[in-house]
């Protein structure tokens, strides 16, 4: 990245992160990110009144909450934030302001991508942290619990990076990208990950699941049909895939002609 591109990336990142914090959509996503926290608190209350055992609650976190985060919240947040990077500019017809300044188009895309990534990461990390504290407050002195938290958060950020880059490329390529993105998340990712053998490696979720500890239980989303890949390979694959998707996004955005309206 040249010095010429770094400055506009920084400017765009700051500006769009700041306006993103105030956006209505972010408020909706804050509520969405709080749903697992409320569910976890409800599970704790049930344990407190004797309706559920401590092992039930631990299992609830290991099975349901991880599934909720990694199969739903993270891809969906990445989908909405990622596709909006270009689509929002097209819908609001504001792209013209960013493409009539002496700034390379790649700087525009990367600045906005980083702002969207940080916004999504803050939502996920804050929600996950609260959720984890609610699930593990009895073992906060246990170093293993914090190691586990570090692993979850690190994997969350890698997943966000990769999914966001993919959906940024999708948004740069086509205007109505949400539908295709939803098909990818709830179709491809949800189904193909359970295919045996090499096929499951064609999903992002396979590499994410390979990084997470597999809790006991036959029906865990993490263990069902999973033939995990080695952790280092998974990290490198997610990083490489994310960078590749980002490169594709930049490639498309720099070359594609965006028509903002019926031209006269």
């Amino acid at each position: 990245m040249t010095m010429k591109a770094k400055r506009p990336i920084r400017i765009l990142f700051r500006s769009f992160f700041s306006s993103g914090l105030r956006a209505k959509r972010t408020r909706v996503f804050i509520l969405l990110a709080l749903v697992p926290v409320l569910l976890m608190l409800a599970a704790r209350i049930m344990e407190g009144v004797g309706s559920a055992s401590a092992s039930d609650v631990a299992g609830f976190f290991g099975h349901f909450m991880l599934s909720l985060y990694f199969q739903l919240l993270i891809p969906v947040l990445a989908l909405f934030f990622g596709t909006s990077i270009v689509n929002e500019e097209l819908d609001n017809k504001t792209l013209v302001y960013l493409t009539t300044v002496p700034v390379p188009r790649r700087a525009v895309l990367l600045g906005k991508y980083l702002a969207a990534l940080l916004l999504a990461a803050l939502l996920i990390v804050a929600g996950f942290l609260l959720c984890f504290l609610a699930a593990s407050f009895t073992r906060l002195g246990d170093a293993a619990a914090w190691e586990e938290l570090g692993l979850f958060l690190g994997t969350s950020l890698l997943a966000l990076f990769c999914y966001s880059a993919l959906f940024t490329a999708l948004g740069a390529f086509m205007k109505k990208s949400i539908l295709l993105g939803l098909f990818f998340v709830f179709g491809w990712e949800s189904v193909v990950q359970y295919f045996p053998g090499v096929t499951q490696k064609f999903t992002i979720i396979h590499w994410i699941k390979s990084l997470l500890p597999i809790p006991p239980g036959q029906n865990s989303f993490l263990s069902f049909q999973l033939q995990p890949s080695p952790p280092l390979q998974s990290v490198l694959t997610l990083l490489a895939a994310g960078l590749l998707f980002l490169y594709i996004a930049v490639f498309i955005f720099e070359r594609k002609e965006y028509i903002l309206s019926d031209n006269a």
């Binding site: 506009p8 400017i11 765009l12 500006s15 306006s19 105030r22 956006a23 609001n92 017809k93 504001t94 013209v96 302001y97 960013l98 493409t99 009539t100 300044v101 002496p102 700034v103 390379p104 188009r105 720099e254 002609e257 965006y258 028509i259 903002l260 309206s261 031209n263 006269a264």
Partner: protein
């Protein structure tokens, strides 16, 4: 001398829809009005000139350089788009400051540029309000501020005149402004380019083009309770080629080849005769009618 803007065999279409076709045009220093009815191709031309669209055929250069994919050129160009678009979650100042920084200005200089642009369009008082609270006219002026803040050598304005203060207060070396409203352009410049159906239809001094228009009969409608009395006094003048009475018997339409002479005569006649009139209009005194005459409809 290199023209400010040069188009050679420039064509653009969207699927089956023609934008512009085979345009050859050179624009030199000064203010140029780009005129044409809605759908004529003005916006397509300006969007190509502003690097927003790629030509399908031919080439367009600004200051001798191609525009598309050449962001460095935007230090010298300002473009005000036609869309009513803005980052509504930002304040007016935040928006202009962002663009100032992207233009390469930093710190106090960026703030000064933003303030100057906002002052030019009269938005200093409301600069800290969120754009979503702005009126249509204020957003229009904000767009204008976004295009002038870096003091470009060439300013291109796409239909910018609705709800905006007079633009000629802005000191710009070269200005290309598009509109479908003839009098607005007329107030700014005599040099115009007429676009119709994606082609350059006429180019040059507005008075010359008006003379062309004067070679066709102008229609003047006069609402009066005494149309026959007025017609009797008008008929016989060389510059009147026809008179038609309104079906409600409360007016007449006069066709004349010499509009200025006709109006002079009409005014003195009305003053002398005391014939009561309710309204005088020119039903064909608009750009669309002018085009219709020129293209022989």
């Amino acid at each position: 001398m290199t023209p400010v803007l040069k188009a050679e065999k420039l064509s653009k279409w969207y699927g089956n829809i023609l934008g512009i076709s085979d345009i050859n045009l050179e624009i030199r220093s000064g203010i140029t009005g780009l005129l044409g009815p809605n759908g004529a191709g003005k916006s397509t031309f300006l969007k190509i000139a502003a690097g927003q669209l790629k030509p399908k055929l031919g080439a367009l250069t600004v200051f001798g350089e191609p525009v598309y994919g050449n962001p460095r050129l935007f230090r010298r160009i300002g473009f005000c788009p036609e869309h009513d678009s803005a980052y509504v979650e930002m304040s007016g100042r935040g928006f202009i400051l962002l663009l100032a920084r992207l233009h390469g200005f930093a710190g106090a200089e960026a703030a000064a540029k933003a303030e100057k642009a906002l002052a030019t369009v009269g938005l200093l008082d409301s600069q800290d309000r969120l754009i979503k609270g702005y009126s249509f006219g204020m957003r229009q002026r904000l767009r204008l501020a976004s295009s002038i803040l870096h003091e470009p050598e060439l300013l291109m304005l796409d239909e910018p005149l609705r709800g905006v203060d007079p633009l000629w207060r802005i000191r710009i070396m070269q200005l290309i402004v598009s509109s479908h409203i003839l009098p607005e352009i007329e107030a700014m410049t005599n040099e115009i380019v007429l676009i119709h159906q994606g082609k350059i239809f006429a180019k040059g001094d507005i008075h010359r083009i008006r003379n062309l228009i004067d070679s066709h009969p102008h229609q003047v409608s006069i609402r009066t309770p005494h149309p026959r009395q007025l017609a009797a006094r008008l008929i016989g003048n060389d510059f009147i080629s026809g008179i038609e009475f309104a079906s409600d018997h409360r007016g007449l339409t006069v066709r004349t080849n010499q509009r200025d002479q006709f109006f002079t005569h009409l005014m003195s006649l009305l003053a002398e005769s005391g014939v009561e009139t309710e309204e005088i209009t020119s039903p064909d005194d608009n750009l669309q009618a002018v085009f219709d005459y020129l293209i022989g409809k």
